[in-house]
């Protein structure tokens, strides 16, 4: 018996277009806005932006081909983001979800960010339902697995991580229409992870490497962060911050933009303290929102000899 389609699921089939204006597609699909936003909001990361542009172009062309009946399979969209901590991987993943959503490759465009703890269970039979629960939540969007290499623990062959990996691989292969998986982590450890799990490497089409920020970029990031919180540096503080960044980089556990954010949080703390202790009358808005050099130079980083810790 032929099943007549229900009205609400009946998608009218548009006639196959004979020509597609990519420029117009680029503007109407909203991809242009996402890329412009990316350029505006994210400082530095030139190679990453270039890769995203290329990926967007590929997907746009692929979509045009599909509409003309030239392509039928969904391209593999799973990605791996490698780079040091604080280089903007999560932020870019959010933008990527938005981009894929606007291009129509994912239906909802939300990002579910998880780590090993969210996927791997604690006892036998716990992992599969846990992983599936997360996968179901991520369907129609992007699953972002931070520090993905922790899933695989070669030193313990009974580790449940392997089970999560198998389920992930299966879904990445069979339900490419339903979700996009982005793996993220340090470059070297990701490489080792891919070596020991060749299934992942072959299912991931786009490898994007996130470079460290330069000192200059970090200073601009600091200014942008402050601006978003309605704070500003005075001129001396800007110089002090530049000095701070150079010194902080030489210290261990330097996490790029994240270190800067933490430093700013501490500077705000010191600024508040300074105002509280030194203010002798009413304060105006400018005084309340200005970070001065002494708020930054009070950091312990300045107490250490420059260059210490760089040699490990």
């Amino acid at each position: 018996m032929p099943a007549p389609a229900l009205a609400e699921t009946d998608v009218p089939q548009a006639a196959t277009p004979t020509a597609i204006d990519l420029r117009e597609e680029f503007e109407t699909s909203g991809v242009k806005d996402v890329l412009a936003e990316l350029d505006r909001d994210l400082i530095g990361l030139a190679p990453v932006k270039r890769r995203i542009r290329e990926t967007a172009a590929l997907l746009l062309v692929e979509r045009a081909r599909r509409r003309m009946g030239l392509a039928h399979e969904t391209p593999t969209l799973h990605m791996s983001f490698t780079g040091n901590p604080g280089t903007g991987k999560t932020t870019v993943a959010l933008r990527m979800a938005d981009l894929l959503h606007r291009l129509g490759y994912i239906r909802k465009g939300h990002l579910v960010s998880v780590t090993r703890d969210d996927l791997v269970g604690q006892y036998i039979g716990h992992t599969a339902p846990k992983t599936k629960e997360i996968l179901k939540k991520a369907m129609g969007g992007v699953l972002f697995i931070d520090e993905a290499y922790y899933l695989y623990r070669p030193e313990n062959e009974r580790d449940y991580g392997q089970e999560a990996i198998e389920i992930l691989l299966q879904v990445m292969e069979n339900q490419r229409d339903d979700l996009v998986v982005i793996l993220a982590g340090y470059a070297q450890r990701m490489d080792r992870f891919f070596e020991s799990n060749p299934g992942f490497r072959s299912r991931i089409a786009h490898h994007i490497d996130f470079p460290d920020y330069s000192d200059d970029e970090l200073l601009r990031i600091a200014e942008q962060m402050l601006d978003q919180q309605n704070y500003l540096f005075d001129t001396k503080a800007t110089a002090a911050m530049a000095d701070y960044i150079a010194r902080r980089r030489a210290q261990p556990h330097f996490a790029n933009a994240r270190s800067i954010r933490n430093a700013l949080d501490r500077a705000r703390l010191r600024q508040a303290n300074r105002l509280f202790e030194s203010a002798k009358g009413p304060l105006d808005a400018e005084a309340l929102s200005t970070i001065s050099a002494e708020d930054i130079t009070a950091s312990r980083v300045f107490a250490l000899k420059p260059g210490k810790g760089a040699s490990k």
């Binding site: 032929p2 099943a3 007549p4 609400e8 699921t9 909802k108 939540k137 369907m139 129609g140 969007g141």
Partner: protein, 139 residues
């Protein structure tokens, strides 16, 4: 005899795409969707077995389709329905339910008439399928 319970049951069976669209509609209305299974098709049998948990926080219908396919693998010879539960205050009840899988062969019901005092008749409907023990009723 084709069982008609829940929404859409007088229509031809929904295709997977149609099921997906209906489920997406439920999710977009913030209803929690879930699957239930039974092999006792009596209309008064309201308590079907749950398949997994109700999905309160999955934004896309693909999640339910994944479970539906898993459920069909195991219980493809039974009745499976989608239940959409509205948890909002004042409703707290099922807003929509429809059958998404049925056995290949549906034997229907026997109507029993019991004659009682004063020429009165009591009627009982009994699914033929329920003559067999649970779990061995279809296929």
């Amino acid at each position: 005899m084709r069982i008609t319970q829940g929404a859409f049951s007088f229509l031809p069976d929904l295709t997977d795409d149609q099921i997906r669209a209906q489920v997406q509609y439920c999710i977009d209305n913030k209803w929690a969707v879930s699957l239930e299974v039974t092999d006792d098709p009596h209309p008064r049998n309201t308590y079907w077995d749950m398949w997994g948990h109700p999905m309160f926080d999955n934004p896309d219908a693909a999640a339910l389709m994944l479970e539906l396919n898993a459920c069909r693998k195991l219980y493809g010879d039974r009745y499976i329905r989608v239940v959409a539960f509205d948890a909002s205050h004042g409703w707290e009840s099922v807003k929509l339910s429809f059958i998404v899988n049925r056995p290949a062969d549906e034997p229907g019901y026997r109507l029993e008439r019991q004659e009682t005092a004063g020429r009165m008749i009591r009627y009982t409907t009994r699914p033929y399928a329920a003559d067999k023990p649970a779990g061995a009723r279809y296929g």
